[in-house]
Symmetry: C2
């Protein structure tokens, strides 16, 4: 060693390193040469490190008093935390492997498993203890059970905000989407990439952080974020420094519990539509949609009520003592009905209806622009029975839990409001139901809020009027971006990549909020809302709630919290802390 | 007569009438009784009158000096002018007739003709000198030739802003849409309403002012607005009083000329997509869409150039000396390709392409939400050759006309801009082409403007940046309403009627501008735009440009002009004058 050969130079180097690291307050990569026993420094720069090392060093240096907590927080990039939260493909092994195909990195982490091509098979094999990777052209809400059973999800189509990508990120599941090179033939049970043909059952390795697929197995580095003491300390610093609250988007008790372990301070978005896709549920949902009278509709909704109530209980219990924002039914009804002839016949038969009637109703639900169609609160206004059922399920669940000593704190969120009169209409129903529930259960102390999602530009523009009715705002920045920029998320793939490439938009506005346009409405809506109702609680629940640059913007605008996928919660805590630190600097 | 029987009472009544009419400065309906030779007045109120009478009386009283011109203008309702512009069903005959069915009054006026069920038959019969009424489930751009040949258009589906309604209003053609009671069977050649079966060739009377249909012929009151001296004088008063300019939306020289006779001061919206639907043109357009290389696309565009140029020449000539705002290609490309298998095969064959390739391209163009998809300037950015061809057609047409002594004044309008960088991109192409055209034609004095349609909320929000590039703004309030309120015009039929019925929106926001929401963006965009570019010319070219309440709003916001369908131009002149009068009062 140098210490043995040249103890003098060694001592000098040690001294120089300590002085440099104290000066730069960070680990240094130092280049030097020793000529005739004399040490010459050529260059020094901050050392590169991976995520786990970055966190450990920041914490160590803070504990040693070399840097303060603000500086420690500044030293870790939010993206580096991903390496502490998900298993990763071993970089050493990956360096010498040849990727099979590349797609978009929609859900970070690494996974290894056997290829399955249908959600049914995914569930079946997973139940038998096998690890599986679900490979699909694209996914839809009916695939969710199989997606959940899989280690990772891979799709040939779709962008960073496709169904597969959103669901996978919500669960912290590894996911690669838009992998156009894959030709998937579920009937033949094959996945073809150029000349390579993989069969169902073959092993695949997925690197969701980079969007890469490998045939065969690569080793994974498995980590357990909850036992990482450095991470816990580091996130503790973040919490001390940040002003912005961090909630999570979660629809299931497991996800809610996971997010809570990651430090979520509540649920900012609990979608209720996923609750309609189980076997019995979808049947009742379809009965509701095909109902020809309000009474028939009410009967079908009556069947859905117990399911919804149980779901809410699970989530409220997991979030005991923390607020849970529940969004009332949002998607257009055509998403819940089958569109293929055979399925329509089957449905008609099972309900004792004429196939012609069912087909006509399905046809009637078809829309030119479903994104701007009959959805959100427009459903609840057309069919007040739906809002009534959902309000009852939420409030009965809360009341029954309060009797058990669970502190359920529902915040009922009306989606797609553009005009204060829409919120008034829906709020009236909720308040009526609340009185009924209090009377029926005898629970007088039933705290809840009624607020609205701000996702239609008109809602932000008229936020002053809306805030007179709304007890909270939550900016739905996904839809707000679609309407403000006039981009359909499902269709933007044909021009948005070109726009980003040409620098028309600096970043994909669905990934990082368009501050000048959409952000202007967030700022304006917040300001007008708080003028009308001082102290109005304002959050954001779009995908942007987990994006560090967007989080910095939301901090500056003065929002109360961001809400993001469970596995983004630690990242959001860090980004929020960095925003607060940057403001003080 | 009373004069003979009771000359004293008669004289007294005459005196009282004169005093009352001078006091109220309007014709009075006076109720009186004469008891024992003494006149008792029971009641007096302003007399009701139809449109022609209202205009005549207002002008007569103004000419006699009984009222000033402002008062004359106040005395006629804008809707009353419709009776002076279109033939009407004789109210006396209509009073005793039983309507066959009712729909929405999409194009005012009255018409009588024989039922035809296809655009081809409409054209054929009209060419043979017959008057026909085109009855369709709904219409599409390919039906336009037949719609033009018909006296009136009736559709079973669609709302006030459906294709049929927009086209009919543009032409001043009588139209009833959304007449749900009609069951149309083109194969059988029948139109069934309840128990009544009408056949192709049967006579139908259409009242487009009220949305009513009658089996058989009712008499029409025919009028000739251009020979109505009172109307000319009355509109002269309007022009003296109004501040707001009035332009027209017109795509064809005949419509432009008609609008000019009605007093239009320019074209505020000349759509170019209608120019792609003739036989030869649609073929070249499809070649362009199916092109696999930029060169192939440029060759197809080269074929379209002469057609476009001739169209522009016709319009510029009709508008000699007045500005013509030409909107670059706006609709998504899928509107120009066939979607049925047989037509796809035919197209592939005629172009010597593989049907599979054509089908794949057609499939690729399909969008989830075409309203928010690949359209407007996004097309011109993806395919700069399109913008280049259109700019060349416009500017060459203008240059060649200037040589002939015609004062062509094109204003090139880039649609669907949301970000200033989009306008920069398209403007650069136009300016390059302008230099080429000047060099090639030797016409140095070639005045033209480049501006943008403000129809994406983001454009209004960032109007300050956009105005640095735009030489004019034109608010496209149809699309701006769709995006600001989150309503798809094509789908809103499933909930918007309920919204209006319940008073959530006071009026259908597609008919009368939503002042608090969409109007706020118009005001904000105008203000920011003028701050960045003092004197920026700002107009509006949505359907709202012909709606009196909206016109009053646009006056208050300080726009320079409104643009509307040719037959709405006199109405807009009146509404603009009333807005100015109301402001001074």
């Amino acid at each position: 060693t140098l210490e043995e050969v040249m103890p003098g130079a060694y001592g000098e180097l040690l001294d120089v390193r300590n002085r440099l690291e104290r000066h730069y307050r960070d680990m240094q990569d130092i280049e030097f040469t020793i000529q005739e026993g004399r040490v010459w420094l050529l260059q020094t720069r901050t050392g590169k490190r991976n995520g786990p090392a970055a966190v450990r060093m920041a914490v160590d240096m803070a504990e040693e008093g070399l840097i303060d907590k603000a500086e420690a927080v500044r030293r870790v990039k939010p993206s580096q935390l991903d390496e502490l939260l998900h298993p990763m493909v071993d970089p050493a092994a990956e360096a010498s492997a040849k990727p099979l195909a590349q797609g978009l990195p929609a859900g970070p982490g690494g996974a290894v498993g056997r290829i399955v091509l249908t959600p049914e098979k995914a569930e079946e094999r997973a139940a038998a203890g096998e690890k599986v990777i679900l490979v699909r052209t694209e996914t839809s809400p009916e695939d969710v059970h199989g997606m959940h059973a899989a280690e990772a999800i891979v799709t040939a189509k779709g962008g960073m905000t496709s169904h597969a990508a959103l669901v996978a990120r919500g669960w912290g599941k590894t996911c690669v989407v838009g992998c156009g090179a894959l030709e998937i033939d579920p009937a033949a049970g094959t996945v073809t990439v150029g000349d390579t043909v993989l069969r169902e059952g073959d092993v695949l390795t997925v690197n969701g952080t980079k969007g890469l697929l490998y045939a065969g197995e690569l080793p994974l580095i498995v980590i357990d974020p909850e036992r990482n003491e450095w991470l816990a300390k580091f996130l503790g610093y973040c919490d001390e420094l940040r002003r912005l609250g961090v909630r999570t988007n979660a629809d299931r008790p497991e996800d809610a519990a996971q997010a809570r372990r990651f430090g979520a301070e509540g649920i900012g978005l609990c979608r209720t539509e996923h609750m309609f896709f189980g076997d019995e549920r979808i049947r009742a949902m379809r009965e509701m949609i095909l109902a020809e009278t309000p009474e028939e509709r009410a009967r079908a909704l009556e069947k859905l009520l117990p399911y919804q109530k149980e779901d809410f209980k699970g989530i409220f219990r997991a979030m005991d003592g923390l607020p849970v924002t529940v969004r009332l039914l949002d998607p257009p009804l055509h998403e819940f009905v089958p569109h293929e002839e055979a399925q329509i016949r089957e449905l008609a038969e099972s309900m004792g209806k004429d196939p012609e009637t069912v087909r006509a109703r399905v046809e009637q639900l078809r829309e030119m622009n479903p994104m701007l169609g009959h959805r959100g609160c427009r459903l609840g206004i057309s069919y007040p029975e739906i809002t009534r059922m959902q309000a009852r399920a939420i409030l009965e669940a809360a009341a029954e839990l309060r009797k058990e000593g669970v502190d359920a704190r529902p915040e009922i969120m009306v989606p797609l409001v553009g005009h204060v009169a829409e919120l008034q209409d829906q709020k009236r129903i909720v308040l009526e139901v609340a009185e009924e529930v209090k009377r029926a259960t005898g629970v007088e102390d039933l705290p809840f809020l009624v607020g609205t999602m701000v996702e239609v530009p008109r809602a932000a523009l008229t936020a002053g009027e809306i805030a007179r009715e709304a007890e909270f705002f939550s900016f739905g920045t996904n839809d707000l971006t679609q309407m403000t920029c006039g981009f359909s998320r499902d269709d933007a793939g044909s021009f948005l990549p070109l726009y980003v490439e040409r620098g028309i938009y600096g970043k994909d506005p669905f990934q990082s909020i368009d501050q000048a346009g959409v952000g202007q409405l967030v700022a304006l809506g917040t300001q007008k809302g708080r003028e009308a109702r001082p102290g109005l609680k304002v959050g954001v629940c779009g995908e942007h709630g987990g994006d560090p640059d967007s989080i910095a913007f939301f901090h500056r605008v003065g929002l109360d919290y961001v809400s993001c996928s469970p596995f983004r919660v630690p990242i959001a805590r860090l980004a929020a802390a960095q925003a607060a630190v940057a403001e003080k600097a």
